[in-house]
Symmetry: C2
Subunit: 713 residues, 2 copies
């Protein structure tokens, strides 16, 4: 039976703006993505994006200084594989098109679009285009064009070539992408049926091949007759970076669809979420998960671009979003992908060691704030490089993966080294200072997650995360002593790390009884919210950074994010802390509300938890930020899972035990989630008055459910 919440169509959307639809209906398989272009419209925003395929250019500064990021890395928009040209019996192009219907099926991965296509006389036919990406061999896409006459009859020529003219749009908005006009294309046609292009970037010196194969011919003539349809398939290919393509033995469209359907079937088997009581929400969540996994590099060499492979926004860069907002989903549902996301970080470890040296830190690694190739590409260090916490965020993701999978082999080969090098960074980056007559370990001039506060001392989040990072390193050194020794760890270094972790200063305000965002935050005046007009949000577009920084105002969860991650403060303190920080948070970052929702659920603020969640669950489907046309807010896709599972579902690993608390919103009848845990597949069903655990595959497991530990079978 067809699941109505596992597909989406234009009728579910409020906007039909073409570039917005290109994003929403984009397809991807972690390797490449294709925006859902009108195939005859030559949209300037349409095209193909390959994960990790970028061009570089010099970053220009008003005033440059030592150690600044030197090169932009910009994801390259490649030709659109959907594009086609139709010519009528008078050699005139069919140049008008109108979208009639479009729908995407999350159970098969099939995108189905129908257009009315007209010639200059207004005579038309209907074009149905089906598109589906292969998932097992991620270089392949199947496209099926079906043509049905409306009032045009007679000869049509269908012409399928790569259009290499379109260029990425130019923009000053840092959230968008910059122009890339330094590509070279070499084109080759084989037997009139296949076209191959090799794309080479000038400065980053990368290349790849794209191809399409049309067994009926790249330029085919057919005749439209009443009550007849014409159908032909195009098999598209996008090689790996610096790879080549094999144009023989291409799969058929049906095989690609089968492959995709198998993939999605298994995906939902392991990852499904069902909310009873709100179909539209359920649909949004399914959409989010569908697009999240589509966006994610799975090869250990790539990661998750901030806009997935659905748009060039943020230039295709990878941020901490991966570790904090997206990898939780993968760790609990598709741990192989979570592992490969960490392997990507391992692949840029050497680059990150160099970056630490550039920042004057003599040991360890500092991961770049925004990057594809591991080199820093953030041109504004106060909200870029200064967010040192990315190091500990990576360590945290490794810990989560390890807890959920118990994958010792991976820890020995990759995890330990990453945790060690990030811990070494903290050890050398920080320093002892006397605070309240005690020697405390401090970190100066750092920026936490909240980008409305920059270059502060002892940011609580950063310090708490660094403490965790060091303690985790110590644990792993103890667990893998041989490997640790190979990595140069001495007993002295281990103890040093333990001592530093114990001495790390965590700002706490005695009077308020809550953790303080940083050493000075509570001294600053609170932002004048009451006199700030609504149209002045987001603040960053209407106030100088110096204005924003000198007030207590948060763009997103900062101290509260640490509370969410560590679950280590009392309920009373959490209530106070939540209340305090909520009042000064604008949620101008799309990463904010999911954490506020999850914490509200934990505190028992049910309505608040629900409202925050609902405000972001459909971020892209309602174009909440107004810029979904540039690409999906992928971190938010992951954030919605996080809120449901960690917030409403209260799921986490605590004291070595899978722990679940039922915080089901009143608005829902039932919530069912599927997760993997240490080789098992579990279904957890939250009802208003009960929580059920089903172990679908695997051994019995002790779980703490709503405060009571029990072994489930």
């Amino acid at each position: 039976m067809k699941n109505d919440t596992k597909n989406i169509s234009i009728h579910d959307l409020q906007s039909n703006e073409p570039s917005y639809l290109e994003t929403i209906f984009s397809l991807a398989n972690g390797h490449f993505g294709i925006r859902a272009s009108d195939p005859i419209a030559n949209s300037s925003t349409a095209g193909t994006l390959v994960n990790g395929f970028y061009e570089t250019s010099d970053i220009t500064y008003g005033e440059v200084a030592y150690g600044y990021a030197k090169k932009n890395q910009t994801i390259v928009k490649l030709p659109d594989l959907r594009n086609i040209k139709f010519v009528d019996d008078q050699q005139r192009a069919f140049d008008q098109s109108q979208l009639i219907s479009e729908s995407l099926d999350f159970e098969t991965g099939l995108l189905n679009s129908t257009y009315k296509i007209s010639n200059p006389d207004g005579k038309s036919f209907e074009l149905n285009l089906q598109a589906v990406l292969q998932q097992s061999n991620d270089e392949v896409i199947g496209l099926r064009y079906t043509i049905k006459p409306v009032d045009y009859f007679g000869k049509v020529v269908g012409i399928k070539h790569f259009n290499t003219d379109s260029a990425t749009q130019k923009s000053d908005d840092p959230r968008k992408s910059r122009t890339v006009d330094t590509l070279t294309y070499a084109k080759k046609t084989i037997d009139g049926q296949q076209e191959l292009i090799e794309v080479t970037t000038k400065y980053s010196q990368m290349s790849l091949a794209m191809a399409m194969s049309v067994s009926t011919g790249l330029e085919q003539v057919f005749s439209l007759q009443p009550n007849q349809t014409v159908t032909f398939d195009v098999i598209g290919l996008v090689s790996k970076i610096n790879g080549i393509l094999d144009l023989d033995n291409l799969p058929k469209f049906e095989e690609i669809l089968k492959d995709s359907t198998d993939f999605w079937q298994e995906f939902w088997q392991n990852s499904d979420i069902e909310i009873s009581g709100d179909d539209s929400l359920n649909q949004a969540i399914h959409y989010n998960l569908f697009q999240l996994v589509s966006s994610t590099g799975r090869d250990g060499k790539t990661n998750i671009p901030a806009k997935g492979l659905s748009g060039t926004g943020y230039e295709g860069h990878y941020f901490w979003d991966t570790e904090m907002y997206m990898s939780p989903f993968f760790a609990y549902t598709n741990p192989e992908i979570a592992k490969n996301l960490i392997k990507y970080r391992y692949s840029v470890l050497d680059e990150s060691k160099k970056r630490a040296r550039t920042l004057g830190v003599k040991e360890g690694a500092l991961f770049s704030w925004r990057t594809i190739n591991g080199q820093e590409a953030s041109a504004y260090y106060p909200a870029g490089t200064a967010q040192y916490h990315i190091d500990a965020d990576i360590a945290y993701a490794i810990d989560r993966y390890y807890k959920v999978t118990d994958d010792k082999e991976f820890m020995k080969n990759y995890g330990l080294e990453l945790v060690l090098e990030t811990a070494r960074f903290w050890k050398n980056f920080g320093s002892y200072s006397e605070i309240h007559c005690k020697k405390r370990f401090c970190f100066f001039d750092v920026t936490g997650p909240d980008e409305y506060t920059a270059l502060v001392n002892n940011n609580y989040y950063t310090n708490r995360m660094a403490k965790f990072n060091l303690l985790f390193a110590v644990d792993l050194i103890d667990e893998f002593p041989k490997k640790a020794k190979e990595l140069g760890v001495s007993a002295k270094e281990r103890d040093q790390m333990a001592n530093i972790a114990a001495a790390i200063f965590l700002p706490y305000d005695q009077i308020k009884g809550i953790n303080q965002q940083d050493d000075s935050s509570f001294k600053k005046p609170v932002w004048p919210f009451e006199t700030t007009p609504k149209e002045n949000y987001p603040l960053l577009l209407h106030y100088h950074p110096l204005t924003i920084y000198r007030y207590q105002v948060n763009k997103q969860a900062d101290t509260l994010l640490a509370d969410f991650l560590f679950d280590d403060i009392s309920h009373d303190q959490l209530v106070k802390e939540y209340d305090y920080y909520e009042k000064i948070t604008t949620h101008d970052s799309s990463l904010s509300r999911s954490i506020f929702s999850a914490l509200a659920a934990r505190i028992g603020l049910k309505q608040k938890a629900y409202d925050y969640f609902m405000a972001t669950a459909k971020t892209d489907l309602i174009d909440l930020q107004g810029n979904s046309a540039d690409g999906l807010h992928v971190a938010n896709l992951g954030g919605s899972w996080l809120t449901i599972v960690s917030g409403f579902g209260g799921l986490r690993v605590k004291d070595g035990l899978l722990t679940i608390d039922n915080h089901l919103p009143d608005q829902w009848d039932k919530l069912a989630i599927r997760i993997k845990y240490q080789g098992r597949l579990l279904e957890i069903v939250y009802r208003k008055d009960a929580t059920e655990i089903h172990i679908i595959h695997g051994e019995p497991l002790p779980i703490k459910v709503d405060g009571i530990e029990e072994t489930f079978k």
Copy 2:
């Protein structure tokens, strides 16, 4: 009798590098400056600079944000008036030149340069070029070319035209200038004797005219004969910005020389300094004062570019250097100039009010950190706009001017309003916060003078200066109640300013017993000086700002500058404070050592005072920073006067009384200085065991000399 320390020649210099000599021997009169080019060499760095004549261009940021400075303002290098072409009897240019001698006379303002000029056969003549700027009509320069054959005899054509080909050199060094290639020139020749060009900038839409008049003809033929010389004069003109030129009734060379000589005679009469015991030092000081006054705009519309009119470094921008390092000299010797420097600030007051609004401050004015036209041109706000202290620096200069001149008329028409609008800025920019259980007025996210520490809270210098600024405003409101009321001051506002001034927080460390640079500075680790190789200075060229900012390390005097200006802490504290901050100061700024020297003199650290002074007194003459070729370090020229007079001479106005302390270095026999004070001209002579006061003109005056108040006649 010729004063040997009032001139300089190439023999006094260690470098004969042409672009360095162009700077050292540059001439200026506040309106325009001319670099001392080799007249036939077409040097790319030679040319004419007009104070305040700039082109704009867009500032490009790696990542832009609201309120950032939008436009570069770049002083324009205009054609070189010294340039000439000589052609031999075979139509070949004399294309070789060799500098034989060059000397500049500080008593007449005459620059005398002699070159050996050769044709391709190596046959040569000697060219003597005398150049002198008119000072009373500052649009005029006289140039006298005298030609004496060596071994070339016969026909020579002398061709004098404006060469508009040379462009400002391109550079990435922020201390240098950017390329300007958006000028348009319109050229006109009159009667073969005069050439006029109109220069227009494309974006800033400014224009001016330059002209030269050669009564013997722009292209003149003469014949060189043994034992004969040929002499001709060129009268050059540089109009005011957007002005026109009158080419009739031009002065003769001798008249210009007379005008210049009169000017310098009066200048030395009022401003002389004589050090007995070190002629080379004396010469350096005279050079400094000569170039300082040459560099300074005197029309109330212009100011002092950081490199004077001697080079395009720092793009011809005006900084706080004016108020803190240069205007003291003028206040005490040429108060009319000091007044006009303040009037320039008044001319950009409206622009500065707008800037305050952009920074989210709803009242008052914020002066731009670096600017020509009043708009912010600093592309790095942490060491630009965040240096809010410039507002109080301007107020301080007004106070100094007022104390020294008692010019009530000026205060009523300009001073009060400037002090009021800056005080209003502080009032609205800061906020009350509880510190040690008291309500204190604080300033957050500011940068003090020390650019190795940025975006801190309660920078001592900034807070101390703001306190002064507010108190000064209150005093002036009380003194000029009617005018204050016209400017919208209510009794409530006055009291609010007084209350805020009293509540301003001044960080003080109880344990160390000294003022703390900012709220957190003493928590940070001290820079690892012992492991920093010598070649890694200046630090800013070898470490990321984030690295520098997280340590205790100072580029220049910061807290100590406040101590120097206010003289308000105990001797014991000053000794401790000096010792502490000296240890963490690199003096990577050329503004640093003069303050360390003056304070050392005040403390009684005689050798230290002497050493610091000697290290900078000859900054440009020994090319200490290696970049004098880009222009003079004008603030340092003023700093050397400040050190001598305020440091060794202990001169200041304290409690309404001119106060003098004799801190004569052991190395000197005698120091004589001349200053003006409230309408009087004084000479103060410091000897090893005595201080003499001579009132050359004017009424008797009570002065506190070496602790004893006495009325001098």
